[in-house]
Subunit: 339 residues, 2 copies
Amino acid sequence: MTREDGKSGAARMRDVARMAQVSTMTVSRALTDPAKVSPDVRARVAEAVRAVGYVPNKLAGSLSSSRSRIIGLVVPSIENSLFASTVQGISDVLRRHDHQLMIADSGYSMEAEEAAIRAFLEQRVAGLILHDTTHTPAAVEMIRRSGVPVVENGTLVPDPLDMVVSYSNQDASRAMTLHLARLGYRRIGFVSLHAATNARSRDRQLGYRAALEEAGLPFEPALMLEMPGGLASGAEALLRLMEGPVVPDAIFFAGDVLAMGASLECARRGWPVPGKVAIAAFDNFDLLGHLVPPVTTLKLPRLEIGRRSAEVLLDRIQGRASGPLAVDLRFEIIHRAST
Amino acid sequence: MTREDGKSGAARMRDVARMAQVSTMTVSRALTDPAKVSPDVRARVAEAVRAVGYVPNKLAGSLSSSRSRIIGLVVPSIENSLFASTVQGISDVLRRHDHQLMIADSGYSMEAEEAAIRAFLEQRVAGLILHDTTHTPAAVEMIRRSGVPVVENGTLVPDPLDMVVSYSNQDASRAMTLHLARLGYRRIGFVSLHAATNARSRDRQLGYRAALEEAGLPFEPALMLEMPGGLASGAEALLRLMEGPVVPDAIFFAGDVLAMGASLECARRGWPVPGKVAIAAFDNFDLLGHLVPPVTTLKLPRLEIGRRSAEVLLDRIQGRASGPLAVDLRFEIIHRAST
DNA sequence: TTGTAAGCGTTATCAT
DNA sequence: ATGATAACGCTTACAA
């Protein structure tokens, strides 16, 4: 396409201004705050915008106003469906408030997270949402200096950077373990992801041990396992525990799709659940309710975490709130036939 | 924090320049193309950057150079795990090439897609990736005028906007249907999502019917169903077909998690698979291989679609390629015990 | 209600 | 190898 002045390229605000016979400032007002402009001018501007196919340049706008409508999000893994609901929640709220989402993936590495945070700050994002709660010192320093508001939502940390929106992994794990104890199970196995690299797993282990103590059950090291995530890994954990020195009467799988893998392995071997061993899961995958038998699990507020994170961030950005903030969202136990 | 001149706020390039005793232009060169600058200057700039905690402002950079390193992606649903692998693939490649990803969600609506595209163009993205292949006329017009390169990857469309990276939904559906016919099944049911709103489902229906004809099997309208996605929906589809006027000996579930729901329903009812009815799925969810019996399915190049989309887009952006392009990625049939 | 002028923080371009 | 100057396209601040 070609503009009337013969130059090619995208139309700029001054092309619109010229056509509508007003200044660029008036065009700017007509677009961002129509009430500030006379109806006549508003109409002429709208018509000119249409005629030249004007698409505002937000880079220029943001540079000039020192305000952007972009939120940066770092998750450990985009592919992991657990994070997907949270991202969906964030996206829903942002869209309603006319903000954009930039997303990056740390691959569970703090260094990659730091790189992503730097890239976001370079884009002058209006806010950050970080799934993880442990960061490199450099990342923390950059965020501090930038003054950009941040929400963390991996777990309820005691010393947040700024705001936290999550549920308590420790409480949830404790609640499920107590639930099993109350049902009469005495040798409760526990399988999680590696705690050394994962604050969430650490909290879940703490909750498990706290519950054992509370229920007056001894802690058996042989009943606690750390595994990578995945279906096959869940099956393997099941077998290892069942063939170990202390045979559990129930196993709580506090990580990823481990419980699903274990449940399917029981089905393959024809082991009755909970006759041979009871199985409990940590996350509310739809599927857990459709297995045979359906699996007891925790219902975690994944979508809600996303929504609330976006909301508190926007509140802060738009000056409706200030200061640290911790939102402790609630979880539920969904009791099913597997326990 | 406070800068040496007493002003507060983020450090700018001129703060770095002043401290390193060079011009901003030299700082700019030292950062973007270090080879163009003497080793001495390079070191002084690096030191100054560190000292003031300088984070470059890419908004200003992009405005000035008319180049951005942001790619916009629109998917129908962020939450849907099928798209998650593709997003992961895109993200992997972009990170390696120092580009950023903006993501938006159309909720399967063309109008929402148009809004997302407009927002991306306002941010002056360097390229677009659209999962869907049908767009509003306004969206098409905007993209055309902007000159921004685009990749579509929902299905292999005959009339792409620009570039396409996908597999052929029609071929894949045809291949699986023929596979079932070759195994000796004569009354092959077919369940997909609603074709009216989904180009992918349309293509899959076409493939199914083409295969029937090729195999010399009659098309039975009663054997073809359209359902919403979801586990429960798959179970319902199974029951409807099994209780319908023409009882299938095999069912091909060409949508979402429908096959999983159906397989689990068979398990609940104790129906032997494939004794009572054979089941085939369309997508390679990990889980399908772990069900009892494991389910025959198509292995689709989800991750690869993401990677290649990002690659062809970057090739175009960086001037290594031009003109339309269609990448037809390959799928495989994974034969398992359910058929 | 509308306009003018001066930036926002970079990079392109042309000098030296 | 380095620097001066003028954009990039918009908004802020002030003026009329």
